[in-house]
Symmetry: C2
Subunit: 763 residues, 2 copies
Amino acid sequence: MAGLTGFEKGAVLVVLVIAILGIAYAFILRAQILSQDKGTARMQEVWGFIKDGANAYLSRQFRTIMILIGILTFVLAASVLIIPPTQEATEVFGSGATAWVAVGRAIAFLMGSLFSYAVGFVGMNVAVEGNVRVAAAARKGYNPALQVAYRSGTVTGMLTVGLGLLGGTLIFMVFGIAAPDALLGFGFGGSLIALFMRVGGGIYTKAADVGADLVGKVEAGIPEDDPRNAAVIADLVGDNVGDCAGMAADVFESFEVTIVSALILGLVLGDVARGALGDGQYDMRFVIFPLILRGIGVIASVIGNTIVRTDERTRNAMRAMNNGFYLAAVISVIGFAVVTLFYMIDPNTGAVDWRPFMATVAGILLAIVLDKVTEYFTSTHFSPVKETSRASLTGSATNILSGLALGFESSVWAVVVIAASILSSVLIYSGEPAATQFTAILYGVSLTGIGMLTLTGNTISMDSFGPISDNANGIGEMSGLDKNARNVMDDLDAVGNTTKAVTKGIAIGSAVIAAVALFGSFLTDTGKVQTQLGQTPLAGINVASPMVFIGLLIGGAVPLLFSSLTIRAVARAAAEIVNEVRRQFKIPGIMEGTKLPDYARAVSISTTAAQKELVSLGLIAVLVPVIVGFLLGVEALGGFLAGIILSGQLMAVFQSNAGGAWDNAKKYIEEGNYGGKHSEPHKAAVVGDTVGDPLKDTAGPALNPMIKVINLVSLIIAPIIVSIRVPGQGIGIGTIISMLVCIAALAWAIWQSKREAPGMSGS
Amino acid sequence: MAGLTGFEKGAVLVVLVIAILGIAYAFILRAQILSQDKGTARMQEVWGFIKDGANAYLSRQFRTIMILIGILTFVLAASVLIIPPTQEATEVFGSGATAWVAVGRAIAFLMGSLFSYAVGFVGMNVAVEGNVRVAAAARKGYNPALQVAYRSGTVTGMLTVGLGLLGGTLIFMVFGIAAPDALLGFGFGGSLIALFMRVGGGIYTKAADVGADLVGKVEAGIPEDDPRNAAVIADLVGDNVGDCAGMAADVFESFEVTIVSALILGLVLGDVARGALGDGQYDMRFVIFPLILRGIGVIASVIGNTIVRTDERTRNAMRAMNNGFYLAAVISVIGFAVVTLFYMIDPNTGAVDWRPFMATVAGILLAIVLDKVTEYFTSTHFSPVKETSRASLTGSATNILSGLALGFESSVWAVVVIAASILSSVLIYSGEPAATQFTAILYGVSLTGIGMLTLTGNTISMDSFGPISDNANGIGEMSGLDKNARNVMDDLDAVGNTTKAVTKGIAIGSAVIAAVALFGSFLTDTGKVQTQLGQTPLAGINVASPMVFIGLLIGGAVPLLFSSLTIRAVARAAAEIVNEVRRQFKIPGIMEGTKLPDYARAVSISTTAAQKELVSLGLIAVLVPVIVGFLLGVEALGGFLAGIILSGQLMAVFQSNAGGAWDNAKKYIEEGNYGGKHSEPHKAAVVGDTVGDPLKDTAGPALNPMIKVINLVSLIIAPIIVSIRVPGQGIGIGTIISMLVCIAALAWAIWQSKREAPGMSGS
């Protein structure tokens, strides 16, 4: 930690302690939850099935991806050897720089992967533990159930922020100004695991859901969560692996990548400032500030979370959680202002620099506005969803068209809001001198990302709450809990639907903001390496150049390819579930309820199906940037990134919001409008809901981590590309062979993901 | 025509004569068709309704857009006065340059609009005249019917190429090296009218189609084209105004804009070469070459079209048309090679420059490959559509999901093909010196566009053939024609479905290719004006700059906004039709068939509804680039264009192909697979087909002209932006007021397009 003032050293240590305390707080909460009552024997039996299924999934997944993680760790370490060490690495580690960076990046990658996995694993585990205890607490009253559900979510929330902050701070402490080299590995590890968790969880949950519904509700006419349906446990497990584990890993990764981009850009600014300061020292304010912001956010979330409670008369879970959220927001903003006032002093003028504070607050505002946009387009209280409900009167075709139109439009406004928040950074830093303006604006954008995710502790608590209540409800149904308790859980479940939609909006928004900031560092980073190699550094990514435009076109196509393949994967897995449930229905005793179906088989089918798709989709995300970068060059790779961010954002919001709207259009009809449940419009709306399921829970959310995996792979390979593809020199035979191998692997992965659904036609 | 060699002057005159002969040929064909038999009195009665409806629509549309065209003509002329005349204009016209350019651009704009309108109008008119005569000829046999149908289409085809070539050549003859100033106006006029025709026609045809089907087929259970349905004539009129007039204007505009971009870029290359030649003269080869290519294409199309015939034994319309197409292709390629060999000689080296030839042939290949991609994803003979049919076994939700996945994927491959064809220009011109490489590559891209549309004469003949046979079939049904004749028309109709899909692929592909070429000239043009104004010229459009990225994001969102609004517009208009048909069904005598319904009312409702939407959608296309350009600056406007092209291409292909696949998945079931007509899977597939209708016939195709309107508006306003928004100077009050007016108008237009469908809920 050379170059830091005494205050700064102290601040970093305090942040580290806060991170550890956050993790400790998570484990204390977990212990509290585990000590709660687990209800009747029947409840525990049902819960046992869910628990086994969920654990089986995650440990199976771990085995599947371990090999890929192992290979990548090795490749990452080896790749560092190709390129010369950065000036910063040499400054910190001297002649051993290359070895330090190679090992450091590999370890950081492993750390990122493990942390991301841990957040998913523990988050899911505590959700499963929470489910049955929420059901048990619901027998006592509304507030006890709310408390158990919310606190179970808080465990994941605090673990996310604790581990995210711990990783970033540790890397900074060890690597100092050379931290970007390792941070890239950290971010990549986290994003890759998040991609696996999102894709795997998303396929699992929707395959089980769609499969269970198609045979149970539609063909056999039995209710949802009916114990005779062999896929019902798989469906409940799916909520945990998709909505808890997948979501937690995804948000963890956004939390982590925003800090990665802020540290990278903060160091660039500090490097520029050291020239201006003239003392040969980095100006560390821009790096320490985001760490402190994160620390304040963690404290604010803990305080905010403790006040979440309601009473048996009010029974307003939403207000209770919002109170916690707003309290945390106010504490954060005050904390940010105080730190700015005393710490962010310009050493040349002695004046307080309020600009980073403003960019951070813009992020908090962005989170709130995106939340409102999502709510407007997906909530039953506003005209878009009502219009989609009304379109169901003329059948499912008009319902689908209305949802598509609404999804397209919501994506437009989300983009406008994000564009406005980038614009705010441009305006905030408009007075900055030309030499640093570009970096300063991007630093502002990364702080906006930090701001958006300040209250991640609260957001995840609120989000996890949804699937936990949902599962508790399922356990209640299957174990025949009394009406009062079920009403409590129904109500909590409905609130959970809203909080889930909100988190999705924030996850996508922060993904784009983080990607824009990373994208900016792509140019800076590549230019640095080129200068070191004696090449003319890239001045910009000129999208009017035909080669860059080709990159842009291909980049824009990737999110559509990904969406297409994930939708097909769900269809394929759902077909297998359908066949299995049909088979079991034919076994004597099952439909009569005298014999329990083989839940484990459906669980195992979903698990296997989800795993099958993982590797090929992960390979696509890793290989495409490598191929584009080496074949078309580093500037075209920049165009490719721009294309991916643009089309990824559009597709993610479109799919999430159209899906959310169809879901709620159905709910609005179920509330008694346009004929109510079992009417023709309701049937039409059910079609829309089923179409929306894989869009909103698999294809859409998978795009967030995908955008960042590709971004980070590009950042990591860019220096290698400029070392190997030297202008004017031919391409070596090694590169050609590697490219052919990559292309073959990509072709295999796409072909693998395109297999048709098996045998559902044989019905 | 100063600066041309004697051969070149002769060549231009020959091209002009070919253009005029092409137009003359169209009118001779038209006279031939008019001389054919119109069949029975009942046939002529039905046809009379269609004819009146179609003419009413187009003349109404003309009145609606005339005001907007008038205002824009004035604005275009006035806008020229703000900026200094280009160096080329001064060279050609001396001190009167500004006045010449102002008047020239305005006249060219009017000419572009009128030509585009004329192509649409005459194309539709001859299609309507052809309909009844095809029905009459079908009583005589297969070949007579094919001949009448194909030749009716050829009228439009020849008019398209004739007028497109005439306009470009005339402008070049008058303006010489200052032609780009006027060509922009010509392209803008054509694109704007094409946008109106596509949007208006698309809304009209799908509103009538969906409205007629929802009440007729679904509610009342009567067959398609049943004379008791009040919307049946509107539906038939719709085929003409959408598939004939809309499509013709759209392809005309692509044909025109590819020549505009080739001439603009050819002049830039010629300007660069004049330095190299050292004689102070433009090198005109690059401008004359595309004109000659077009001329050869026209001749080849005429020859190809004449051999389209079959006999009563073979009855293979597809092969007959393909023979004509391939003959024309072979003639063109040979002609191109001959011209290259004798004309494209590098004056410095004396060697033949084969590169323009290669880029042009790449375009012909691109057209063929795109055609195959479209066919693979939308034809019943390949696995994608079969998979969507099979997905209907588990209901409409799985059918829709399968179509979405297929549409997304097809868009990916279309983008890859287009990227590959741009790459081919990059490779072809890789040996070009750095100073001209950028322009040369873009010139290659524009020649690829020229190549793609070489056989427009054949393509349009084949495309128009579809709706003409469809309408003939409708007339046959309504006037009770005998089974034999109806079989003939059924068969021609099915062939028409394939040719229509092919044209759509080419239209979208050429739109993107033309847009990429125009986008390149955006940078060159803006830089020129900036140099003239003494500013630092734009070196590139750096998408890593936050402001440009904001432009990219907003640009990417526009096609989604457009699609959302057009889908809603169809829903709104269809609701009005539904209400009207329901009202008429209640009138005594109509369901019994003793009284004719009031067809004219449904026609008038469709017409009015389509007009209502036109102006607001047109305003959005014109205003958004103006607002983005003036508020965010000219470089951000470049990012905006890149975003629009990328997302426009992705959305257009996705919507067209998903729609085509759903349509054919239904047809595949109707052919007797998976239960055949009236089975549950068929019902599920009908839902998919209805969802696909507005996507493939309204929202998707409207994006082609939209991309180009926005491109051309941007090219026109870029010089004005750099004149007004001088760096370091504040923005004047006039600009601020104009911007506020534009934003208010845009808000009005969006709000106007978002109105909810009226009263369909009251059913």
